[in-house]
């Protein structure tokens, strides 16, 4: 079982490593956000907040962004596998659908975490510092859970989609709102009630808040409740994914 999961992960890692265009492409967007927002809103933020540094607020948000997009896309890769026929090879193999789901989730999540770590490294250049090893470790746990949850989301969607036609719709009506309303870029305080409500049901809100709490100490909901929430959501989405995968036909 471990070996099967490893084989599935390894395949995804090879794809990731070999596609340099994808590697740089998925890094480019978060970096653009980091620089544009960081320098654009930085002065305004520190004026309003009374001297706080915007990069400290923004960096965890951008790390989360990198993880979010990479994780969802890794999950959605199953649709490509379906279109190019490789999915059949995996589905006719004498392995349980749960193994496939776990393997794919870990593969996608690993890539997403690597991506997140690269971005975290790049924020160092812009002056972002993590206070201690402990906060880094707790931060990594959050990165891992965000990665697992959103790879699971990607896989769950992919198991229900026949082709890439709906891809743009998922991006614009699901992933983008999840990102923008998660508090990754701006504080959620003082938002209009309707928007605030959406933010509160956005799972990423708790991921961002937890990661930010862990590595900068700024947290709205508390690190431990964020951890409990995103942790249990990850388990739930993986279970849903496993059920949907077991019903999948190639």
């Amino acid at each position: 079982m471990i070996e099967v999961i490893y084989a599935l992960c390894l395949r995804q890692l090879k794809h990731y490593w070999r596609s340099k265009a994808r590697l740089t492409g998925t890094l480019g967007q978060p970096m653009l956000f980091l620089i544009a927002f960081g320098f654009g809103f930085g002065p305004m933020y520190s004026k309003v907040s009374g001297g706080a540094n915007y990069i400290d607020f923004l960096a965890p948000g951008i790390v989360t962004m990198g993880i979010l997009f990479t994780a969802v896309f890794s999950g959605l890769e199953v649709i490509w596998d379906r279109q190019f026929g490789f999915l059949k090879e995996t589905l006719v193999a004498p392995i349980s659908r749960t193994e496939i789901m776990i393997g794919k989730t870990f593969g996608g999540a690993t890539i997403a975490i690597i991506q997140g770590l690269i971005i975290l490294g790049l924020t160092y250049i812009l002056g972002f510092r993590i206070p201690s090893i402990t906060s880094l470790v707790i931060g990594l746990i959050f990165m891992f859970l965000i990665a697992i949850f959103f790879t699971g989301i990607g896989l769950t969607i992919a198991s229900q989609m026949k082709d890439m036609q709906g891809f743009q719709m998922i991006l614009n009506f699901l992933i983008m709102p999840i990102f923008f309303l998660s508090g990754a870029l701006f504080p959620l305080k003082n938002l209009p009630p309707a928007i605030y409500f959406i933010s509160r049901i956005d799972p990423l809100t708790y991921g961002v808040d937890g990661l930010r709490g862990a590595i900068t100490g700024i947290s709205t909901f508390g690190v431990s409740s964020d951890l409990a929430l995103i942790g249990s959501l990850s388990v739930i989405i993986c279970l849903i994914g496993a059920v949907l995968f077991s019903r999948m036909e190639a």
Binding site: V4, Y6, A7, R11, K14, F84, K88, V92, P94, E249
Partner: protein, 263 residues
């Protein structure tokens, strides 16, 4: 002789369209069985059900003594399949594709390297194993798929139009390999093809399916005798008529919907 594959009252419906209408047949262990029919007759749908990719609406399938619906993984370990369209990972090398297969089919680690080498040698791809599949020609891809399907020592090998779109040299070499596997390893071969002369040359048993029903089955000789024809191709045309068919059930429906929209 023992039956390696037994199909009883198999039915598959897509909405109100019935692609496979209550078919039953047996395949003897060690034989080469050709499953023939015009486009859209239900061949690929049947193969997909036999190989657990599609769930039948009703009916029973036994492969190597295992119920395909109830003991899925044991049945899956018993067969190899080469699908009609490629199911290789283009972004991996040929070798990596086969290793992936060996792992997910749980081939014992000790035997892996040797089995993979042997399978790739059979189809003459051992020297090209480090190439990416995306750089392979159509014929090489087919051969690689056959090699990959052999790594877990299947009892029965399903080949869905293994020689479609290939030049005569490659086709001949693929049939030679298949025949050798059948003779040397006593591997049962279940194949579909549109090249009737190929089926005539290689098959022990033939079943002709049309409109989701098996309309004739037996040895090539028996079929020729019954239809009073000289070749399998003539027999096939006599049995299935000379009208040109739509591609398949689902795309036919899609096409009809599309045409309705155009009007």
């Amino acid at each position: 002789m023992q039956n390696i594959l037994s199909v009883q009252s198999l039915v598959k419906k897509f909405g109100d369209f019935t692609a496979v209408k209550n078919i039953s047949f047996n395949v003897e262990a060690g034989s080469i069985f050709a499953f023939l029919g015009p486009n859209g007759a239900g061949k690929s749908t049947t193969i997909k059900m036999l190989t657990t990719v599609l769930k039948p609406t009703s009916g029973k399938i036994i492969i190597n003594g295992f119920n395909v619906l109830k003991e899925q993984d044991k049945a899956r370990a018993s067969f190899g399949i080469v699908f009609q369209d490629s199911s290789l990972d283009d972004e991996l090398t040929a070798y990596e594709n086969v290793v992936y297969h060996a792992v997910v089919y749980k081939v014992p680690k000790k035997e892996r390297t040797e089995r993979i080498q042997k399978a790739l040698e059979i189809v003459g791809l051992w020297n090209r194993r480090e190439d990416y599949v995306k750089n392979y020609s159509g014929g090489m891809k087919r051969r690689l798929e056959i090699a990959r399907a052999l790594v877990h020592y299947p009892k029965i090998l399903f080949l869905d139009e293994p020689t479609v779109g290939l030049d005569p040299q490659t086709r001949n070499s693929i049939w030679d390999h298949i025949k050798k596997l059948n003779e040397e390893r006593n591997m049962t071969i279940f194949l579909t093809t549109h090249y009737m002369e190929e089926a005539e040359a290689i098959a022990d048993q033939v079943a002709v399916i049309d409109h989701g029903k098996i309309i004739e089955s037996g040895t090539v000789e028996e079929i020729k005798r019954q239809t009073e024809t000289e070749s399998l191709e003539e027999a096939f045309l006599k049995l299935t008529g000379r009208n040109i068919r739509d591609d398949n059930g689902t795309s036919r429906k899609r096409m009809m919907r599309g045409m309705g929209r155009m009007r």
